[in-house]
Symmetry: C2
Subunit: 320 residues, 2 copies
């Protein structure tokens, strides 16, 4: 089993992805700052390539493949941003990519994955096990599996988002990070320890799927059923071994957000900040708004993890 | 009559607004570049304070008031972004502001103007003349009128947007600028002459209100009825004396865009670039897409003039 990642791995990942990833902008809103009485900085990973932070981890992992692994190819399973991130990274690096996606994945995501040159293999998410399919493909075809979050190279890659934020704005009092499987949050923890050691670090997950919060309280990884939530990027059933080990040591607390809080965030981002953020990307801001009283006068970072939402879905979520 | 503005005025305006205005980000989209076969840079004035470039010109004009003018106050007439720009600038500079707005202006814009501390005076846009009301208020109360576009300080302020763009990305082959009364376009002309003299400069106005195109062809200012168009920021009836004088000398050509081309732009910006752009802000990109064949291999700048669109209206304009 590979070694747990450290901040040094985040720095190496930053050098690897630098020619290919966007250094995403950090935005502020005076209106939001006045309303909250805090200085809030938003790290806009909705402007990252393929529309989400996932490109960072996938590209870092794939760029560490041996020549042999590159020739044989990569396999990944995902219905969302990780699929596109692996397909795009593989196309940049000239690695054949096989992506296992549920047959009812949004057509736009299937099309985007194929557009990057990935081979898409469909499965029935109610009767088939995607991890099993992935492992079988890996064994039969000699492919290397890149998991969506529980891998040191993926975690180190995701950590580059928080590294860029701290590098640009300096130290913070608190940082709020969306939490699904924990790749983005554990990467943030590595950057925080090195660059802003006094910063409180918070993960934020959907209320309907608070396995991270439960895991942190019990001191062990809690498994749940796939939660029903607008935050389709955080419908994970459990943290990973690597991510939980970092999160349990480093994270101050884990909060939750309801679907209506995420909706409110989508609307504020569109109206006030003129940006499109997917529901999962609104988790951090929802927790900040709910805890504004504790954050007055503080310097607060919020990671907006992605912006991949169909225009029709966005229209349906904005107020009538 | 004050002297026509020069690039030196743009530089002075840049120094005046620098502590108060945002230096807005310049964004690129690889997907759009691949589709168009060009290198396109978007200057995002939708991220400017109060959501549009108008803050630049208004703040520059108000900051040049004499102490006497500051004490007496400013008056402006506008149903849109200029009203908010004057109200916000006046509140920053401690100048009393009176804004003449149509009684059927969007409640959100009236509320924003009042929120910045402006006194709002309503008029009936079908039976009353706003310029007459503005002049009467100016005379009776000793207020200084700041017009929405036809003033050297306003033009110089708007020119700072293009100045920032050229400073950040270097010279361009072509620059596309939304055109209403011509403040943004004539300001762009001043910056272009100094910083990228070989750059072709294009104004883009709504097809329903092509008075600028007609004026350029006839060599004199053409007046039209208020056009019906989605681009509510470009419903002007004629160019100004200052703006036309610069435009006739400096601008390569003026193109038009249909409402359906603006709609397509709103959707592409939301889906591909994750940003909210108001219809008027989509004028430049619409012209670029229509002329892609002529722009292959070129470095192309596009100014996104603003992002002020109600969330409900945005929802209605996105595809169902």
């Amino acid at each position: 089993m590979p070694q747990a990642p450290t901040y040094s791995d985040v720095e190496q990942a930053a050098a690897r992805i630098e020619p290919y990833a966007h250094r995403t902008p950090v935005l502020r809103s005076r209106l939001i700052n006045e309303e909250l009485g805090a200085d809030v900085v938003f790290k806009c990973e909705n402007f990252q390539r393929m529309g989400a932070f996932k490109f960072r981890g996938a590209f870092n992992a794939l760029s560490r493949f041996t020549p042999e692994q590159r020739r044989s190819g990569v396999v990944a399973y995902s219905s969302g941003n990780h699929a596109q991130a692996v397909a795009l990274s593989a196309s940049i690096l000239g690695i054949p990519a096989t992506i296992v996606m549920p047959h009812d994945a949004p057509p736009s995501k299937v099309a985007a994955t194929k557009g990057y040159g990935g081979e898409v293999i469909s499965y029935d998410r109610y009767t088939e096990d995607r991890e099993e399919i992935g492992r079988t493909l890996a064994a039969e075809r000699g492919l290397t599996l890149v998991p969506p979050y529980d891998h040191p190279d993926v975690i180190a890659g995701q950590g580059t988002a928080s590294r860029e934020l701290f590098t640009e704005v300096g130290e913070l009092d608190a940082l709020f990070v969306p939490l699904g499987g924990g790749g983005l949050l554990s990467g943030a923890a590595l950057a925080r320890s090195a660059l802003s050691p006094d910063c409180q670090l918070y993960g934020v997950e959907p209320e309907a799927g608070n396995d991270g919060q439960q895991s942190l309280r019990r001191g062990e990884i809690v498994h749940i059923d796939t939660p029903k939530t607008l935050a389709d990027g955080a419908q994970t059933q459990h943290l990973g071994a690597y991510t939980f080990d970092i999160i349990r040591r480093e994270v101050t607390d884990i909060f939750t957000a309801t679907d209506s809080e995420l909706l409110e965030g989508i609307r504020i981002f569109a109206s006030t900040m003129k940006i499109v953020v997917e529901p999962t990307g609104c988790l951090g801001f929802a927790a900040v708004r709910a805890r504004a009283a504790d954050l007055r006068g503080k310097r607060v970072g919020v990671i907006l993890s992605g912006g991949n939402i169909d225009a029709a879905r966005l229209a349906a979520l904005l107020p009538a």
